[in-house]
Symmetry: C2
């Protein structure tokens, strides 16, 4: 009989695309007594979590709660509630997660009208306008912080155009919520979803979502039922939002405790302070990266405060460098996804991990890993110490 | 500015339909260091979790892993991977969760051929055979332990008939896995899913699933793509099962740590011992319930070892009794769902909670709560002390 040992995970500093490390105060909530999903005590926890989520999203939307799944579950909820067979949706693609949205739209029987930008660049509003003018789009779907390229997409103008054409705006804020400026109401975003394990600094497993009254009315007036039972917002709403909670599914109680605590930390710090902290530490990281002779992959105007994409230099082995970081420094950074595999590194400074200390540490560790690869010896022209 | 206080959940003994209390050893794993979802260490944890899940399901199925969602996410995965538009599926309904399966089948564009049994009774195999004979069913969907009525459904004969007609057998084992006899391979079950928070004694948030090679080949030969991206088993498989894991989504790392530990406890106890423990404690509970003058709702032949449904006596207020149990004894039991609301109580003895002590304690507490309702005074004929 095989013996299974105790879990002894290494103590990693998680500076990749996520998950991020968890604040100790959040971790502590995971060992609190579990109550039932319909317990009056849990009901209070749910209400407070909803209030705090509204604060984080900067919204007054009634329909605001965490979906019981990971970030991609948030994406699927947003899309499958809006898209019916035959619907046209403009989807903006400049990376891995835009492609994923397009895939989901098609699985819902929708027609995906793709607007593309080169990897590392933001989507141009003119291209969006053209797509809206030449289609009968019910919605436009766009990624705010494209985790695969480190682009932070400006949304205000795109939102204005979207609503001029009477479409709904669906925004992926998986990597931006709680770390980058995001104003759901002011920017007129109709559906916005995120994930618990990035700038909110909670364990992975929940996907906060918020839905405008306009979008809810589109959902309530669908010709057909939402194809997914699990992600049907109109029924989850009856469990999460109504005061007389109607059983829908068993919420992941401990993850909700953790989310409330992560949001409470955010609330105590102040949302705008937190945005500023992420921005400043990203800037420090970018300086550090350039000082060690590396270049930023992302268009400079659009570097996301939560994640920085860096070009892997020619003749340097992506995996070998990441292995050195992991095995000698216990630091995790991410490689590229899809066609960017082997071409970029992605460093995330998210939530509790967005600190001056980590910005300096990761650049220094990367320099040492590059030395081991003989990067500087082979590139004499790089004017590094 | 509103102040949000520390979480201070009450210490409840969770003897309802789930979630159950979490074993202290499982709880401890939740505070271990989090690593990335693609970390080599986590990769080992995943492989061991898969092995232990195969042990719990009694299966050699390659495709065996936890879906990143709650039990209903397991249900939706099972259904949406098999059912395509126009497919016929026989669905057995004798409670709330059978209805839910039927709902999901219809949302996938399938035609649901319903076989019903009265609430509290098992489905008759003759009725299943008739439905199979009169349809072109691709699959049959049935709940093993119907959480809403406490019925444990015999499956062997139904499985035999299902395969005679060349259909696939989909089984909901949300409440049975790890607490009631279940032999996925021996009983020829094609898809079986469960949940982490019941007899496995882990936090809610994961839905273990196992899929036979026969079912996978049906899935791989679909005419159309699976309508859900999040639940598409063929792509999740590449992340969970292949040795070269391809990123699909960010697994809920801490919940996976917990699941592995919960399964390790089960493995150390021995699956058959655990089944026996659940059965013995259920029998003790049934005796206790009858001793205090109450009657069992479920057909006696089919009482589920993990959950016992009891009739709420006439003139007794369901909610008031449950409130007394909660507020004075810190014990949670469940009421009825749907049309059984107010008519039954459901007591779960699951995982670490299935003990002689709890069986005795809950019956005694229930007696005291009934005394407060003047149940015995008003029912002199009940020959209770």
């Amino acid at each position: 009989m095989k013996v299974y040992g105790d879990l002894k995970p290494p103590e990693r500093l998680l500076l990749g695309a996520g998950p991020s490390n968890i604040d100790p105060r959040v971790l502590k909530t995971l060992t609190l007594p579990i109550v039932e999903h319909l317990d009056p005590y849990f009901s209070e926890v749910m209400s407070e979590t909803v209030e705090l989520l509204r604060y984080a999203f900067k919204t007054g939307n009634k329909v605001t709660f965490p979906i019981s799944g990971t970030g991609s579950a948030g994406m699927e909820s947003a899309i499958c509630n809006i898209v019916e067979r035959g619907d046209e949706v403009v989807v903006c693609i400049s990376g891995f997660f835009g492609e994923r949205m397009s895939d989901m739209i098609q699985r819902c029987g929708g027609r995906s009208i793709e607007v593309r930008a080169p990897l590392g660049k933001a989507i141009e509003k003119e291209d969006v306008e053209e797509a809206l003018a030449n289609s009968n789009a019910k919605a436009i779907a766009i990624v705010h912080a494209e985790t695969s390229t480190g682009v932070l997409q400006p949304l205000k103008e795109i939102s204005r155009i979207t609503h001029e054409y009477g479409a709904l705006l669906i925004v992926d804020a998986v990597t931006s919520l709680g770390g980058c400026e995001l104003n759901v109401d002011e920017w007129n975003i109709d559906i916005c979803y995120s994930a618990s394990q990035k700038c909110l600094g909670c364990p992975p497993g929940l996907a906060p979502i918020t839905v405008s009254e306009r979008a809810m009315s589109v959902i309530r007036n669908r010709r057909t039922r939402v194809q997914s039972w699990y992600f049907d917002l109109s029924t989850i709403e009856k469990y999460w939002i109504e005061s007389n909670r109607i059983y829908h599914h068993t919420a992941p109680i401990l993850l909700v405790y953790a989310l409330r605590e992560g949001l409470r930390l955010l609330y105590e710090e102040g949302l705008e302070n937190r945005w500023m902290r992420h921005k400043e530490n990203m800037q420090l990281l970018v300086e550090g990266i350039e000082e060690i002779g590396l270049t930023i992959f992302t268009d400079r105007e659009h570097i996301c405060p939560a994640i920085t994409a860096i070009n892997v230099p020619k003749n340097v082995n992506d995996e070998s460098v990441r292995r050195t970081l992991r095995e000698e420094y216990n630091i995790t950074i991410s490689g590229g996804l899809g066609e960017l595999k082997g071409k970029i590194w992605r460093i995330g400074l998210m939530g509790v991990n967005s600190s001056r200390k980590n910005a300096i540490l990761v650049a220094e560790a990367l320099k040492n890993a590059l030395k081991r690869e003989k990067y500087y010896e082979n590139n004499k022209k790089i004017s590094l110490i």
